[in-house]
């Protein structure tokens, strides 16, 4: 295993990063959120019935590469995403943040999430866990892999995942 340069990353630093990311998403500052992603980022949300699936042979809800996640943000910020026009209010709660492995510049992190989405007098609750692969670049953390695995058995009554989980 390659020796890690600099002080070991702490849970607090990872939490700060995840809380800051959640704030960007809750505040719909999606362009700034894109800047947290690496050029080879993947953002995925497996289907509720096959949470351990591989996107190459199992249908996901979201399986974005960098190009698609940028398109997604562009659409969400545009005028024709009816599911988010007017925009929902969201509130992300992140907890149980654990550093699972560090290997050179990459850090594997898991956390639990609850994302509340408020729109049209409805509250949708998305519950699940995150699996992140973070990298350190010039003293900053960036996201190379971001997977949101829902614990929901089905998207009832949520119906859609029109926000970035």
């Amino acid at each position: 295993m390659a020796a890690q340069l600099g002080p070991a990353i702490t849970r607090e630093q990872i939490e700060d990063f995840l809380y800051a990311e959640a704030a960007l998403l809750d505040e719909w500052r999606l362009q700034e959120w894109l800047e947290l992603l690496t050029e080879d980022v993947t953002y995925s949300v497996p289907a509720t019935d096959v949470p351990e699936g591989d996107a190459k042979n199992t249908l996901f809800l979201v399986a974005d590469d960098a190009i698609r996640v940028h398109s997604r943000v562009k659409q969400l910020l545009g005028k024709s995403a009816w599911a988010e026009n007017p925009r929902s209010r969201t509130r992300r709660l992140i907890s149980n943040v654990r550093i699972r492995e560090t290997n050179g510049e990459t850090i594997r992190v898991t956390a639990n999430f609850i994302v509340y989405r408020m729109r049209m007098d409805q509250v949708d609750t998305y519950v699940g866990r995150y699996e992140y692969t973070l990298v350190q670049r010039d003293g900053q953390l960036k996201i190379r892999e971001r997977k949101a695995i829902l614990d929901l058995e089905a998207l009832r009554p949520q119906g859609k995942v029109s926000i970035i989980l």
């Binding site: 042979n57 199992t58 119906g159 859609k160």
Partner: protein, 131 residues
């Protein structure tokens, strides 16, 4: 006035499933079941491409389906209204040649539905114009 969540969507993602159906569960809920069609001879590369292509448009996290679901929810909310008795499907009625975005096809459908389901004669065109 409270109204229930009007739509839900679920994607079964088992391999080999070939189903796309939508069911009216009640007047306020529509269940979508959607999964990609597949053939037995599909190569892994083709499957990966097909699944990827599906997600650009379809599914709860796709670029189009959430908007469709949102529109259907809006329709369902509208249909709960009991003060307005009629849906207006008159677009294109004054044209000699209605265009595809007019509502001739809706009127034709409902006239025939009326015949087959309600076992009644189609409503006369002039009575419809008064509505």
């Amino acid at each position: 006035m409270r109204w229930s969540k009007t739509c839900s969507a679920q994607i079964p993602s088992r391999r080999g499933e070939a189903r796309t159906t939508s069911h009216n569960l009640s007047r306020s809920a529509v269940l979508f079941l959607s999964s990609p069609l597949t053939g037995e001879e599909e190569t892994p590369e083709n499957r990966a491409l097909r699944l990827d292509n599906f997600l650009t448009f379809l599914g709860p996290g796709g670029f189009a389906t959430p908007d469709d679901v949102d529109m259907l929810e809006s329709c369902q909310r509208g249909f709960l209204n009991r003060e307005v008795e009629w849906s207006d499907m008159s677009r294109g009625m004054k044209s000699d040649h209605p265009v595809p975005t007019d509502e001739l096809q809706l009127r034709t459908f409902w006239r025939r539905w009326n015949q087959l389901i309600m076992l009644s004669q189609p409503v006369h065109a002039s009575a419809q114009k008064a509505a």
